[in-house]
């Protein structure tokens, strides 16, 4: 690997995980409250 390759490798290595971890860290949607009240 060249020095330029190392620079790109480090840059991409620190950039790429950001959106992935951000996405995985988002709050879980509220649990389904189950079926609504019966209309019968």
């Amino acid at each position: 690997m060249t020095t330029a390759g190392l620079a790109v490798f480090v840059f991409v290595g620190f950039l790429l995980p950001v959106p992935v971890l951000h996405w995985l860290d988002r709050p879980r949607p509220p649990a389904d409250a189950g079926p609504g009240p019966s209309t019968e």
Binding site: M1, T2, T3, A4, G5, L6, A7, V8, F9, V10, F11, V12, G13, F14, L15, P17, V18, P19, V20, L21, H22, L24, D25, R26, P27, R28, P29, P30
Partner: protein, 183 residues
């Protein structure tokens, strides 16, 4: 250090859930995000050293990684988040500066006090413990990741998939191991 930076960032997120995750994670890597373009621009210098841990030497990284510049970049980064409140801005500053603090034990003495300073810091675990540094970083990931896991389970504001987050951290750490790293 690589995945350990992200682990500490996630622990900071767990401490201050109002802070945007993307911001914290960008912050913990900020100095290396600056390092890449500065090397390509010829401002900073590094050399590839195959078979010598960690696979490269950082010959001149004073503008991205010196202590004074780390303080400067961290404060500047924190200022960008003032609209989220002073506490969040403070956490962002800490996230960015944590990079310097975590690099300190790993790097050989290549972290200048300020650009051009003859005094360089670094305890050199990369070189004195060619495998042990990886285990030490794994311990840091375990502690920080464990904190994130515990806090995320008690919160509905963040951490919806904590085990997937931990799996990504471990995958990143494995990819940077002495056995698998391409460097």
């Amino acid at each position: 250090m690589y995945a350990g930076h992200f682990a500490v960032g996630l622990a900071l997120k767990a401490k201050e859930p109002r802070a945007p995750t993307w911001g914290i994670l960008t912050g913990v890597g900020l100095l290396d995000l600056l390092f890449g373009p500065l090397v390509l621009a010829g401002v900073e210098r590094a050399s590839v050293t195959p078979a010598i841990s960690p696979g490269f030497t950082l010959d001149y990284i004073d503008w991205s990684h010196s202590a004074a510049m780390a303080v400067f970049w961290s404060l500047l980064f924190g200022l960008l988040f003032l609209r989220f409140g002073s506490r969040v801005a403070g956490v962002m500053t800490l996230a960015a500066f944590s990079h310097f603090l975590l690099d300190l034990p790993m790097h050989p003495p290549d972290l200048a006090l300020w650009p051009g300073s003859p005094i360089h810091l670094g305890f050199g675990l990369w070189q004195t413990l060619p495998v042990g540094w990886w285990v030490i970083e794994l311990g840091l990931i375990a502690v920080a990741g464990g904190y994130y896991l515990r806090r995320s389970k008690a919160s509905e504001e963040f951490g919806g998939r904590p085990y997937a987050v931990l799996a990504v951290l471990l995958a990143l750490h494995l990819s940077n191991s002495p056995w698998l790293s391409p460097l």
